[in-house]
């Protein structure tokens, strides 16, 4: 059984808030979903060597380098303005005027306190 406190704790971990009115519904739905997916924890799975054998029986594709070349993917600042335009602080910083240097900075709250 999931408890309301557990759902609250998960929500805090996930940085979302579940309103009190929704908590009960969320908790009972959660129980139903967990009861279903819980079947997976009871499945007899090949263990240890048997599992490894099962997994390596198939011919694995040869290793290949999936990393891109370590060079410049595009010219410096090619996307800066476009990305800056999506900053929540952009509109305020530019106040409808064309993008200035001021609008190109991402605004975040102070996180170091001196208390």
């Amino acid at each position: 059984m999931t408890t309301i406190d557990e759902v609250k704790k998960l929500a805090a971990l996930a940085r979302i808030r579940v309103e009190d009115a929704e908590l009960e519904k969320f908790t009972s739905e959660f129980d139903a979903i967990l009861a279903y997916i819980e079947t997976i924890s009871m499945v007899e799975m090949p263990q240890g060597n048997a599992l490894r054998r099962g997994l390596t029986k198939a011919k694995k594709p040869p290793l290949r380098n999936v990393m891109r070349a370590d060079d410049e993917p595009h010219a410096a600042r090619a996307y800066t303005k476009k990305i800056a335009e999506q900053f929540p602080s952009f509109a305020k910083a530019t106040e409808g005027k064309p993008a200035s240097e001021a609008g190109m900075y991402l605004e975040v709250k102070q996180i170091i306190s001196h208390d």
Binding site: V7, L10, A11, L13, A14, R15, I16, R17, V18, E22, F26, E29, F30, A32, I33, L34, Y36, I37, E38, T39, I40, S41, V43, M45, P46, L51, G54, L55, K57, A58, K59, P61, R64, V66, M67, R68, A69, Y79, K82, I83, E85, Q86, F87, P88, L106, V108, K109, I111
Partner: protein, 482 residues
């Protein structure tokens, strides 16, 4: 004469080259149909204004290159709202990204632009592609063109409805657990989920990164193939894309061996869906293909494994949406409050539910019981399929247990999840899969008495064996249209 917007890609490409219509005429027909029917269907979240320079360029290319111009040149396509088109909003049908304007083209969009294709609009979907009905869209559900009291399926329901109602010639969707194939089945069109890694996901808003693939929704098998050929290929912007022949060469026999896991079809599937499926199998057998019984025991646990792995990946992927760099940005007293307010206001109910579920299965103490177990089940399932493919070329079952359901019918989340019971296996194994219309079955309708609803047949093939899917689907299409 057939209306221009009702043509397939093949028909439209031929008509354009034969000067029977112009790119402008084709665009206008699709745009007019889209504007006329969208208020009722809500297939599009936005219908774009005509891009006259692109229309003129496509016309010039057809005029000068003729037969050698790409088949997609001048063809109006609908694009799911989680695929980025530079300069356009890409909201993933979420309040979180309601005002997010794409800063670059998805690789698939760039490839379609290079081929001269046109984009008619961005289509509705379940928020962040989570759902099987489009009822989880933050901007209202899409309606099924065959019966507007029913869902079009999801999550690519807007793309499916747009194609089925001829509001576009074809469309792109994305498929994490059946989100292309299930709506294709519910709206009577063809939907393909390519092999994992066959199509670049650069510019696709991520849901479950070990499962997501972009795929075509089209009016015919030939059209699905044209779109697939245009968007597939290795891409330096997506390191999960794979080169041709990675999984070795396979033969394409003239007569295919089709495996059917009869042990999975015993219960939970509507009897008339099974009947339509049996009729189609008989027709395939008459056409020279062989039907073989196959055993895939781990399939019974596939959905449970999927609903562990997928939310785990969702909660991870959606962690980036915190109201700081882009998207919905609410402000509180502290930085933590900024995050919590932005995410709580931005995400809809189902999205929050899956984030919580993912957070749960990944949390210390549960990761072994759930996530690692699901991952092991996934490996066993994949092995079972690989073993089955030693004796068959393709595996068939109905795409969904029932035809399209009515709005609100699956308000219980678990009932909605069961819609994906057949389709999730291909995402877990990474194998390509397709849904093709196989028949029509009658259901009561609140709107117009009895309606005939389309149902699809689903085929899976080994990794990179999309040509097997196209071959068997063409045989189905031939039998279905006969």
């Amino acid at each position: 004469m057939i209306k221009l917007n009702e043509m397939t890609i093949v028909e439209a490409a031929r008509a354009l080259r034969a000067r029977e219509c112009t790119v402008r005429g084709l665009w206008d027909a699709c745009a007019a149909a889209a504007h006329a029917r969208n208020p009722e269907l809500n297939a599009y979240l936005e219908i774009f204004d005509a891009d006259f320079s692109a229309i003129t360029a496509a016309q010039k290319r057809i005029d000068s290159e003729g037969e050698s111009a790409p088949l997609l040149c001048g063809i109006p396509l609908a694009i799911k709202d989680n695929i980025l088109i530079e300069g356009k909003i890409a909201s993933a049908a979420s309040k979180m990204l309601e005002n997010y304007r794409a800063t670059y083209d998805a690789t698939v969009v760039r490839k379609l632009k290079d081929a001269g294709a046109l984009f008619i609009g961005r289509t509705n979907m379940d928020e962040f592609a989570m759902g099987s009905s489009t009822e989880h869209s933050a901007f209202g559900a899409t309606k099924n063109p065959h019966d507007i009291s029913r869902v079009p399926g999801g999550s690519s329901g807007g793309s499916a409805a747009a194609v089925a109602a001829h509001l576009a010639i074809a469309a792109l969707g994305s498929d994490t657990g059946g989100s292309v194939r299930q709506p294709a089945s519910h709206t009577g069109i063809v939907g393909l989920k390519p092999t994992y890694g066959a199509v670049s996901r650069s510019g696709l808003i991520a849901m479950g990164s070990s499962l997501d693939q972009i795929g075509p929704l089209a009016k015919s098998v030939a059209d699905a193939r044209i779109l697939y050929d245009a968007i597939c290929g290795i891409d330096s912007l997506d390191s999960t894309t794979i080169p041709n022949g990675l999984y070795g060469q396979h033969k394409l026999p003239k007569n295919l061996r089709i495996g059917v896991p009869y042990h999975l079809l015993g219960k939970g599937v509507d009897t008339d869906v099974i009947a339509a499926f049996d009729v189609m199998l008989k027709q395939l057998a008459r056409a020279g293909h062989t039907i073989v019984d196959v055993e895939l025991p781990m399939s019974s646990h596939a959905l449970a494994a999927y609903y562990v792995i997928m939310p785990a990946e969702v909660s991870t992927n959606l962690a980036r949406l915190d109201g700081i760099r882009y998207g919905h940005a609410a402000r509180g007293k502290t930085l933590l409050e900024d995050y919590i307010l932005s995410r709580t206001e931005g995400f809809g109910e189902e999205t929050r539910r899956r984030i919580l579920l993912g957070t749960f299965v990944l949390s210390s103490g549960y990761i072994d019981a759930y996530y690692r177990k699901a991952d092991a089940a996934r490996a066993v399932l994949r092995q079972e399929y690989m073993d089955a493919f030693k004796k068959v070329d393709s595996i068939a079952f109905p795409t969904t247990p029932s035809p399209a359901f009515t709005f609100g019918e699956k308000s219980d989340p678990l009932a909605m999840y069961l819609e994906d019971i057949f389709t999730v296996t291909a995402n877990l194994t990474g194998m390509p899969a397709i849904s093709v219309p196989m028949g029509w079955i009658p259901r009561e309708s609140a709107e117009k008495g009895t309606v005939k609803l389309p149902v699809g047949i689903h085929f899976t093939a080994p990794h990179q064996a999309e040509d097997v899917l196209f071959a068997v689907s063409l045989a189905v299409e031939k039998a279905h249209n006969a």
